[in-house]
């Protein structure tokens, strides 16, 4: 009599269905409650031409068939923690909502996705307060799409009834031969396989007029962007009309040009320039085969780069982010081109004379302190190439046993004048490090490696220090070296030495381009196979956390970690590349298919 409610097998089957249902809920509820309308991109565009934002979600049911999703789900189905999370009563409403749709429409979830939203969902956001919103849900079965509004409204009605609210009946209205309905601020109708919704009556009537040909279909403005051919597997496309979107209430003033303060210029100058010069920005998510690709584009840039932002991106001939450093056991590597000295030299092109003046004074004042150099000197000596790496931990440099091994990391900055940097900047830094070493009970050691002087700070290992501190600190031996025109700062000496080897290796690789165009301004790579291997490195820490903080048994935690490892390894490697090209500026993220 007192037995657990579900068998494990039934639980897994139930929860995989739940996941599918969850998706439906997100798609259908989101669309329904937003209350807007329909159009078909294969036919003249129905969305208003003055849209500030347009988005399309194409064939959402195909997302569930994507190789990566299927592989991920297959792994997650084995996870008890995941099953438990899905069985949580917080998901009751979603589960019950899906059940409502299934019972009312008489078909299972996958059929609902195909029949009711199989072609996709289109959304536009326009101007005004509140902004004009139009939504088109385009299915494949006109009869079921026709029932979708009533089923959705009955669901909403039952939900709000529990809170003591009675949903009013929709008021029917007519527009030419169409009957449409008003419910509060929402207007909707079904035309063939399309469910059209809008938050303004005129917007809905406009879509119907364009559908019937009473007025010309939209052939200009942002919606036409969605008529452009798309790559296979494109699942999501979003377009923003930048001039219009800057007029929308709530657009952050910090991203407008001319700037009102220097902070955003320093942190995001290149992006401000793109927003300033580009009429639109588009984002695409493509799920072709087993790969995932995302692409952010600022097309058709107008005019030259905004003065004062030069140097933030690689925007001039023959400059680019340095090649990625790829030492052994690499998890993450990034390389950015960012010439802060060039930006500083063009600072007067930024229309903030008072703020720039204050900044100049603040930076110059650092020379008055004990450092003996100013931040401006530091800027001048620092080159435009910034690189950062994270690797798995290698053998420990300490005798103290460390159960929780953490990743190593390092930053590499090129120097315009290595000797000047060593003479001017290094001495005060060494003084500061000396104080830190004393307070933290560290020992400083200088060693030679391939003609480079490598300075290592190690924690002492005497019994009292080991007993009274968290041993996690013995993962680190802060190290730096100034060599080969670079400043290398790392969490371990071994990594710094590896990076010196990497710089030598890259030095010997001939430059393969004679192009005068700018190269990529940013490169990144995440190696998920190494990240998965990191799960082994931090195994003890992860198991302990899962057991003590999440209540898993040790055996369960071990299994969950094994699944996590599989899940992460299944992702392969993620690559990011950004920069200017003939079409404008692009930011690409790619997760190629993994060899099974």
């Amino acid at each position: 009599m007192l037995q657990a409610r579900y068998s494990v097998g039934a639980m897994i089957a139930e929860q995989s269905r739940t996941l599918c249902r969850l998706f439906l809920a997100l798609a259908v509820y989101g669309t329904a409650i937003s209350a807007t309308f329909a159009a078909d991109l294969a036919t003249p565009n129905l969305l208003p031409g003055n849209s500030a934002v347009v988005a399309e979600l194409r064939q959402p049911q195909a997302v569930l068939q994507h190789g990566l999703v299927l592989r991920g789900l297959a792994i997650l189905k084995q996870s008890r923690a995941f099953q438990d999370a899905l069985g949580n009563p917080d998901f009751d409403l979603i589960r019950d909502g899906i059940q409502h749709f299934e019972s009312q429409l008489g078909i299972p979830l996958d059929k609902i996705l195909d029949n009711c939203i199989g072609e996709g969902i289109w959304i536009s956001v326009g101007e005004g307060t509140p902004p004009e919103i139009c939504v088109i849900v385009h299915g494949r079965d006109a009869e079921r799409v026709a029932r979708l509004p009533a089923v959705t409204l009955s669901l909403i009605g039952r939900i709000v009834a529990g809170r003591g609210i009675t949903l009013p009946d929709p008021t029917p209205r007519t527009h030419h031969q169409h009957t449409y309905y008003q419910l509060g601020e929402a207007f909707y109708t079904v035309a063939g396989p399309r469910w059209l919704l809008a938050n303004r009556e005129a917007s809905l009537q406009g879509m119907l007029d364009r559908l019937d040909g009473r007025v010309p279909a939209t052939t200009a403005g942002l919606p036409t962007l969605l008529n452009e051919p798309i790559a296979d597997g494109t699942a999501l496309r979003v377009g923003l009309d930048l001039p219009r979107i800057q007029q929308l209430p709530g657009f952050p003033a910090a991203f407008k040009w001319p700037p009102k303060e220097p902070g955003p210029v320093i942190l995001a100058a290149g992006w401000l320039d793109l927003i300033h010069r580009s009429p639109q920005v588009t984002a695409e998510l493509s799920l072709a085969g087993d790969s995932v690709r995302a692409h952010l584009r600022f097309p058709k840039l107008a005019g030259d780069i905004t003065p004062g932002t030069v140097g933030y991106f690689a925007s001039e001939p023959a400059v680019a982010a340095a090649p990625l450093l790829e030492p052994a056991q690499l998890i993450y590597s990034a390389s950015w081109y960012r010439d802060y000295w060039k930006m500083w030299e063009r600072r007067n092109d930024v229309p903030l004379p008072n703020e720039i003046g204050k900044l100049e004074k603040q930076l110059a004042s650092t020379q008055d302190g004990n450092l003996g150099y100013s931040a401006i000197d530091f800027l001048r000596l620092m080159g435009p190439h910034l690189r950062f790496v994270v690797t798995r931990p290698g053998p420990s440099a300490y005798r103290v046993a460390v159960t929780d091994r953490l990743p190593n990391f390092a930053a590499v900055v090129d120097l315009r004048d290595e000797n000047a940097f060593r003479d001017k900047v290094l001495p005060p830094i060494q003084r500061i490090l000396g104080v830190v070493a004393i307070t933290q009970k560290m020992i400083s050691q200088n060693t030679q490696y391939k003609s480079a002087e490598v300075t290592v700070l190690k924690f002492t290992e005497d019994a009292a220090a080991v007993m009274n501190s968290d041993r996690v600190r013995y993962n680190f031996e802060p190290t730096y070296a100034i060599t080969r025109g670079h400043l290398i700062v790392g969490s371990t000496a071994a990594l710094v030495r590896n990076l010196i080897d990497e710089l030598d290796r890259l030095q010997s690789v001939p430059a393969n381009s004679s192009s005068t165009a700018p190269g990529p301004t940013e490169r990144q790579i995440v190696k998920f196979d190494e990240l998965a291997a990191l799960v082994d490195d931090v195994h003890g820490l992860a198991v302990r956390n899962a057991v003590l903080n999440n209540g898993l048994t040790i055996a369960e935690a071990e299994q969950e970690l094994a699944l996590l490892k599989q899940l992460v390894a299944a992702l392969g490697a993620l690559r990011v590349e950004a920069g200017f090209d003939e079409q404008g500026f692009g930011y690409r993220i790619e997760l190629p298919a993994v060899q099974k």
């Binding site: 009599m1 409610r5 917080d90 529990g162 048994t553 369960e556």
Partner: protein, 468 residues
């Protein structure tokens, strides 16, 4: 005389500690099975109670004394966690690790007794300030939990955490510190009234010379007072081990431990007079202070399965959280549970003084009760902390349950027997809740799940649940 006292008096002293056996007028029922699980393990799931009913009392007690299968594997798993916990220097992790043991150990009785000895030899990390030494002491308590008390007392006398806790490091020749000597007699071995101040002074001299070096007990003959001492009537050049031996030779020692263990395992509300103590104390002493024998006698006895014992203890915070999670067959963060125990006044590894936690009615206060009720809600709401202790999972599958059936299921799970009036009240509240839920958009399954959570919470907030 209380009902419990009357129940005890109905048992003759020569029969009281003999083994209970079921008979038509005193059946082996779920009340007794759950009572045994609570005292010996902290709590039990419905499945464990069902299983217990199908076995004999003797077999169930034997299995509890021996522990289940997989003890070595469990210890190996714990060892994997322990080093990380210790190097983290985070006391909450150490507390969490012990709660984890209490929840999952295949030998739960050993954990229950380790907790008893932790309270008996109460040592706080507030002064020791070394997780490694606290864990070492905890392992020693566990190792001897069902072993021989003489071994345990000898081990504690040289335990590094104890040496720091009771200032043995400053107990030197010519400058004796009497802290350990006093507590050895007063709190650990004899009880007040069985020794003199002179005995303490003399025994403290014998205990000189011990300190802690590199995490281990260290004896320095230079610091030891090698002179002659007279302790409890014996005279000689005594060392620490001799003092423990002399203490154990006192008749009061067995009496003292029997009474204290009786209060922990059997009943807080009845006081044993010598006619009841003597049979156990004599047996305990004659078996070289075999704790396992004493525990078995107590758990097997007619007294244990009588109204003198059932429901005659107030659940400590640890009993409350561990027992509730076990009953729910749940999986809850041990660190969180340890935090709740801290907030309720039972911070593991941090007893308030060398006397330990007083327990009994001291565990009950208006704020403490409110806190327990809120904690019961957290554990039964099916999400957040209680995400993996959802009572809805426990209801029989595929059955449309009435309000009364749901109420009965959870009152039975937590109380086994409950007054009809209380059951009726819970049933009415569930019916009212059902009416409210049915106004909302919910499937039948969702409604039933919500009602299960409500019923479980209500059953846990019945005052009798604070007794175990």
């Amino acid at each position: 005389m209380s009902t419990a006292e009357q129940a005890l008096r109905r048992l003759r002293p020569d029969v009281a500690w003999t083994s209970y056996f079921p008979n038509p007028s005193n059946l082996w029922d779920d009340v007794k099975v759950a009572h045994l699980w609570r005292r010996a393990s902290g709590g039990a799931s419905a499945e464990q109670i069902e299983r217990g009913l199908k076995t004999t009392p003797a077999d169930l007690i034997r299995s509890l004394l021996d522990g289940g299968l997989g003890q070595a594997a469990f210890e190996a798993e714990i060892a994997k966690l322990r080093e990380g916990v210790l190097t983290s220097n985070d006391p909450q992790q150490l507390k969490g690790l012990w709660i984890y043991r209490m929840l999952h150990s295949p030998h739960p009785l050993q954990e229950r007794l380790a907790l008893f000895w932790h309270n008996h030899f109460a040592t706080s990390n507030a002064k020791v300030n070394d997780l490694r030494l606290m864990q070492q002491q905890n392992d020693t308590l566990r190792q001897h939990a069902l072993g021989h008390f003489d071994d345990l007392l000898q081990a504690m006398t040289r335990d590094p955490a104890m040496l720091i806790w009771l200032d043995s490091q400053s107990n030197r020749k010519g400058q004796p510190n009497e802290n350990y000597g006093r507590e050895l007699f007063e709190l650990f071995g004899l009880g007040v009234g069985h020794y003199t101040e002179q005995d303490i002074k003399e025994s403290s001299r014998a205990l000189t010379g011990w300190s802690v070096r590199n995490g281990r007990a260290h004896f320095d003959p230079q610091q030891h007072d090698a002179g002659e001492k007279t302790v409890l009537g014996e005279t000689g050049n005594f060392h620490a081990g001799d003092i423990v031996r002399i203490c154990l030779a006192q008749p009061a020692c067995a009496d003292f431990i029997v009474q204290k263990l009786f209060r922990y395992l059997v009943s807080e509300t009845v006081t044993l007079d010598p006619t009841y103590i003597t049979p156990l104390a004599d047996g305990f002493r004659s078996r070289n202070y075999d704790i396992g024998w004493l525990v078995e006698r107590m758990l097997s006895s007619w007294v244990f399965f009588s109204p003198a014992a059932i429901g005659q203890r107030v659940k400590s915070p640890v009993d409350f959280v561990v027992g509730t999670v076990k009953s729910l067959n749940g999986a809850v963060s041990p660190i969180k549970l340890a935090e709740f125990c801290d907030q309720l006044g039972q911070g593991l590894f941090y007893p308030p003084s060398v006397k330990g936690w007083e327990g009994g009615e001291r565990w009950i206060s208006s704020t403490g009760l409110l806190f327990r009720q809120n904690l019961a809600f957290e554990l039964t709401r099916g999400t957040g902390l209680g995400g993996r202790s959802d009572p809805a999972r426990l209801l029989p599958a595929g059955e449309q349950l009435t309000d009364e059936a749901i109420a009965r299921y959870f009152t039975h799970l937590f109380h086994q027997q409950i007054e009809e009036a209380v059951l009726r009240q819970i049933t009415e509240q569930i019916a009212s809740e059902r009416g409210r839920l049915q106004q909302e958009f919910r499937s039948a399954r969702s409604v039933e799940g919500a009602l299960a959570r409500t019923a479980a919470h209500l059953a846990l907030t019945v005052p009798e649940f604070q007794l175990g």
